[in-house]
């Protein structure tokens, strides 16, 4: 029997896919690595119950078949692609909100719930799950937990791990366990090792998350935005330090570099932003008088460093001020029409004080490899997202952008930072883990072996890298499609 036939015989309600066309659509996430080297799994299981997940794991463990858990595959690190073959275990159809416990400010849900949809379901109760990834509209909470996603409000509210109270987890041998207070509803506990924290951020290498109990907070009643424009990057860095020093705790601090500003002016000429080295948006939230005090205080302390500041707590004006941040993702493509983002070396995090120097170094890398890079990020926590723009049909540019990514990862480590602030290691950054963690990586491997002795869970991710992507052959003749379907690209 084939793998798919075995799985079909085994599973009660889950769907099993094995047609080549279908497998192809599970061969990548948003990472540049899987764009270059898509890898279809041997079978896809769209899981419909914990029971079926457990059956898949028992079977896979017995037969030594690799299993890669997958949410919406919106990750940029090749963490949810079966690069070593085997089964992709899709959890996105496990998408029920099981219980909103308003009194205890908790929600119990399945991993496939989409982040924005969760908060939409909580909104009528005036409740909020605060981690806020840029991919809110498509990312699943299971994926957020597995990558320990941060998002721009982590500067005040912390990462996803701070909001996960407990998990139901299927271990590699099929055993189902509950961690933390998945059933107790206690908001804190000192009872033993924090297995919840071990699984959160493990990127599906230790087990499969099938249910989550998440902590919630009340939706802050007010917010305000402060905009600051800075002639020099160094002044932007000093301004952020001054804000923290002034006792204000903004709910987001977002920086856009000169290239981003240039891109926004091309995308929305009406915004007419001045040519400066950095634009920073500070968001403050809380009760209305406090928000106004915070916003005025931020304006005051950044004033000496900024070329221009303004703030507002009017909803219409907030949107206008925030517009630069909300369009930047779409706008960066304007820097080079016909080009596209290549997600590699896209998620470093460095000490806040080192941000100006890091941003200048990124521009040096950009010039050295002749690849335009527009960088924005969560300056409050030190997270930076360099956006590289390339023409994917040019093999030379492909090689150059891979070198850009490599340089950026080493830069982050040199600055005393990390190769990934919030997107996760995946397969894309596994080659840097030895350099980043030193002997601690071996401790991680020992933990991994203890839980997954047969090494079936998401091989190639975090612990033991696969060959580097640029040593793999390209996916295909992207330049000149051979068939009559060549005309497919409309523009």
């Amino acid at each position: 029997m084939t793998l798919a036939a075995d799985l079909r015989a085994l599973l009660k309600t889950s769907r099993v896919l094995d047609a080549p066309a279908e497998l192809r659509t599970y061969a990548y996430d948003a990472s540049f690595l899987t764009q270059l080297a898509p890898r279809p799994p041997d079978a896809v299981v769209i899981a419909a119950s914990t029971e079926d997940v457990s059956a898949v794991m028992r079977y896979a463990n017995q037969h030594g078949v690799p299993v890669t858990p997958r949410g919406a595959a919106t990750g940029q690190a090749a963490g949810a692609v079966a690069l070593g073959g085997g089964i992709v275990l899709a959890l996105n159809a496990l998408n029920r909100v099981l219980e909103i416990d308003v009194a205890n400010m908790q929600v119990f849900c399945e991993p496939g719930v989409v982040h924005a949809q969760l908060n939409a379901a909580l909104a009528p109760h005036r409740l909020l799950f605060p981690p806020d990834p840029g991919s809110s509209r498509m990312a699943t909470v299971g994926g957020m937990a597995s990558t320990n996603a941060h998002g721009m409000r982590a500067v005040k509210y912390g990462p996803t791990s701070a909001w996960v109270l407990g998990l139901e987890v299927v271990l590699p041998d099929g055993q189902v366990i509950e961690t933390g207070s998945v059933n107790s509803r206690a908001k804190q506990s000192s009872a033993g090792l924090e297995l919840t924290k071990l699984i959160v951020g493990a990127e599906g290498t230790l087990g499969v998350v099938t249910r989550l109990r998440l902590k919630l907070m009340a939706i802050p009643p007010a917010r305000a935005i402060v905009l600051g424009l800075f002639d020099a990057l160094e002044q932007a860095g000093q301004a952020v330090q001054a804000v923290f020093g002034a006792g204000v705790s903004p709910s987001a601090i977002e920086i856009l570099d000169e290239r981003c500003i240039q891109a926004i002016n091309l995308y929305r000429p009406a915004m007419a932003l001045p040519r400066v080295e950095a634009l920073i948006l500070f968001e403050v939230d809380g009760n209305p008088p406090g928000v106004r005090w915070d916003a005025e205080r931020v304006s005051e302390v950044i004033g000496p460093f900024a070329q221009h500041t303004e703030w507002s707590d009017e909803p219409g004006r907030i949107n206008a001020l925030w517009e630069a941040r909300s369009v930047v993702g779409a706008a960066v493509g304007m820097l080079r029409p016909g080009s596209n983002r290549a997600y590699c070396g896209e998620d470093i995090c460095v000490p806040v004080a080192a941000i100006p120097e890091t941003l200048r170094a990124i521009q040096d890398i950009s010039a050295r490899h002749r690849i335009p890079i527009a960088t924005y990020g969560h300056i409050g926590g030190g997270g930076l997202h360099p956006g590289h723009l390339i023409d994917g049909r040019d093999p030379d540019e492909v090689q150059r952008v891979l070198r850009v990514a490599d340089d950026i990862h080493h830069l982050a480590l040199r600055m005393g930072g990390t190769t990934t602030g919030e997107h996760g290691v995946g397969a894309a950054r596994a080659p840097y883990m030895a350099e980043e963690h030193g002997p601690a990586l071996e401790v991680m491997r020992r933990l991994k072996r203890a839980l997954d002795p047969n090494g079936i869970m998401n091989p190639g991710v975090i612990f033991d890298p696969l060959p580097l992507p640029f040593e793999l052959p390209l996916a295909g003749p992207v330049g000149e499609p051979a068939s009559t379907l060549a005309a497919l690209d409309p523009g």
Partner: protein, 458 residues
């Protein structure tokens, strides 16, 4: 296609992904399969064709794509390529037969000439009037032919159609006519001389609102009558014309216009679609002002002529000029005064047509127009951007998904407890009407033009 960065932002906007939660039923998967096909890494297989043809071409993914991938032209090109590939025959024999028949008969013959379309509409009118419908429904013939659902979508046909024959509908007396149209309209070229205009014979269908042969001082505009709109839904065309007249437009209805070709293009028959496109471009060449269309699906296609014909040396320029003139009915009314005389005390929801919301990015204007009517309480519905499942002939070619989406749309719309559901596209209108008929509710589904016509009745 190469632009797709696989970020997945499109997933939750896609109706078939939302239904199935399967990546191969989502835009990212469809683009991925098409690319792999083009690069020779996948073969044409029934599974692949099925997933691609399940796409509604609603453009919800296009509207949210940060990388600028356009699903509509991609699907048109893909379907055109698959059309000639024998390996693309999918589904059970009965369904294949129906799809083939639909394509050959309906697209190849019927939609190519409005006169034939009117003939069929007349036959169907007779079917409805002479008791044959009652017989067919009660004897189970429709079920036997597998036409039950298709027949249920058929509206009660009007006796008189709108037959374009170069007639001119003058601006209503006393209508507020701006000295110049909006800049975008004014820049579309000088008005053509009135001498070329003719007026249809008095009393003939569609011309009964004609104001006569004398020259009018209204803002010139041309009317795209549509095939379904001018026949099965001719009352809506007439309502549209009346509203435009009251808003100060002098409307010309060019004689040689025909079907927009959207159904052909989305069915992979690009050659016939372009034949229709060229006929329409020629038909409107001598008209002035905006080309006003009251069907969102047609409007999106007309605005796309410039893209489809961009490489045609003979037609690229003309198609560019034509497409730049096309405006949805709600767009041309948005910044013009319309004398509102009636009140409508009702809770109203807008069912955004995908080809208006996503393909033309028009959502504010219909709502603003409705807000002008005293008494209207406008409410929003959940999942406003999710297709109702009509999507051209999708409700006939993909009845299962179509019905799921229809029911979901109705659930969402009815949750807002409206008295009236307003839409801007014939497909949506018929899809929702047939779904509501089953539920035996009292909620009315109407076209925006009907509401505005009623509200501006002298």
């Amino acid at each position: 296609m190469l632009a797709c960065i696989r970020c997945g932002l499109c997933l939750t906007s896609c109706p078939t992904y939302v239904l199935s939660l399967d990546e191969s039923e989502g835009p990212r998967g469809r683009v991925g399969m098409a690319r792999a096909l083009a690069e020779g890494q996948l073969d044409v297989t029934p599974v692949l064709v099925e997933h691609e043809l399940n796409c509604l071409v609603c453009d919800a993914c296009t509207a949210v794509c940060p990388a600028g991938v356009h699903m509509d032209p991609l699907q048109v090109a893909l379907r055109a390529a698959l059309e000639s590939d024998p390996r693309s025959a999918v589904g059970p024999a009965r369904r294949r037969w129906r799809v083939q028949l639909t394509r050959r008969l309906v697209f190849g013959w019927l939609f190519m000439d409005l006169a034939r379309f009117r003939l069929l509409a007349r036959v169907l009118w007779l079917y409805q009037r002479l008791g044959a419908r009652w017989l067919a429904r009660h004897l189970g013939i429709l079920r036997l032919l597998g036409l039950e659902r298709a027949e249920a979508l058929l509206p009660d046909l009007p006796r008189a159609f709108v037959i374009p024959h170069d007639e001119v509908y003058a601006a209503a007396p006393g209508a507020a006519v701006p000295a110049l149209a909006s800049p975008s309209v004014a820049s579309m070229g000088p008005p053509t001389p009135g001498t070329e205009r003719s007026v249809g014979p008095a009393g003939s269908p569609g011309s009964e609102r004609s104001a006569g042969a004398e020259r009018s001082t209204g803002t010139p505009a041309a009317f795209f009558a549509g095939c379904v709109m001018s026949t099965a839904l001719a009352e809506i065309d007439r309502a549209t014309i009346r509203v435009l007249q009251r808003a100060g437009f002098e409307l010309r209805n060019p004689a040689r216009q025909g079907c927009c070709g959207a159904l052909h293009a989305h069915g992979g028959d690009v050659a016939r679609a372009m034949q229709l496109a060229k006929a329409n471009i020629a038909a409107f060449e001598d008209t002035a002002g905006p080309i006003v269309v009251n069907s969102a699906g047609c409007g999106a296609m007309l605005k796309d002529y410039a893209h489809h014909l961009r490489l045609d040396p003979e037609w690229s320029e003309g198609s560019k000029v034509f497409s730049a003139r096309v405006r949805d009915f709600s767009e041309v009314l948005a910044d013009r005064p319309l004398p509102i005389t009636q009140q409508l005390h009702a809770k109203v929801v807008v069912q955004d047509a995908c080809h208006l919301l996503h393909a033309q990015r028009v959502s504010r204007q219909p709502r603003d127009l409705l807000r002008r009517i005293p008494g209207v309480a406008l409410a929003e519905i959940d999942e406003p951007g999710l297709c109702c499942g009509s999507a051209g002939v999708y409700n006939i070619t993909n009845p299962v998904q179509s019905r799921q989406l229809q029911q979901r749309k109705l659930d969402n719309a009815l949750a807002a407890c409206p008295a009236v559901i307003v839409t801007t596209n014939p497909g949506c209108l018929l899809q929702l009407k047939s779904g509501l008929a089953e539920r035996r509710g009292t909620v009315r589904v109407v076209h925006l033009a009907e509401v505005l016509d009623e509200a501006s009745r002298p």
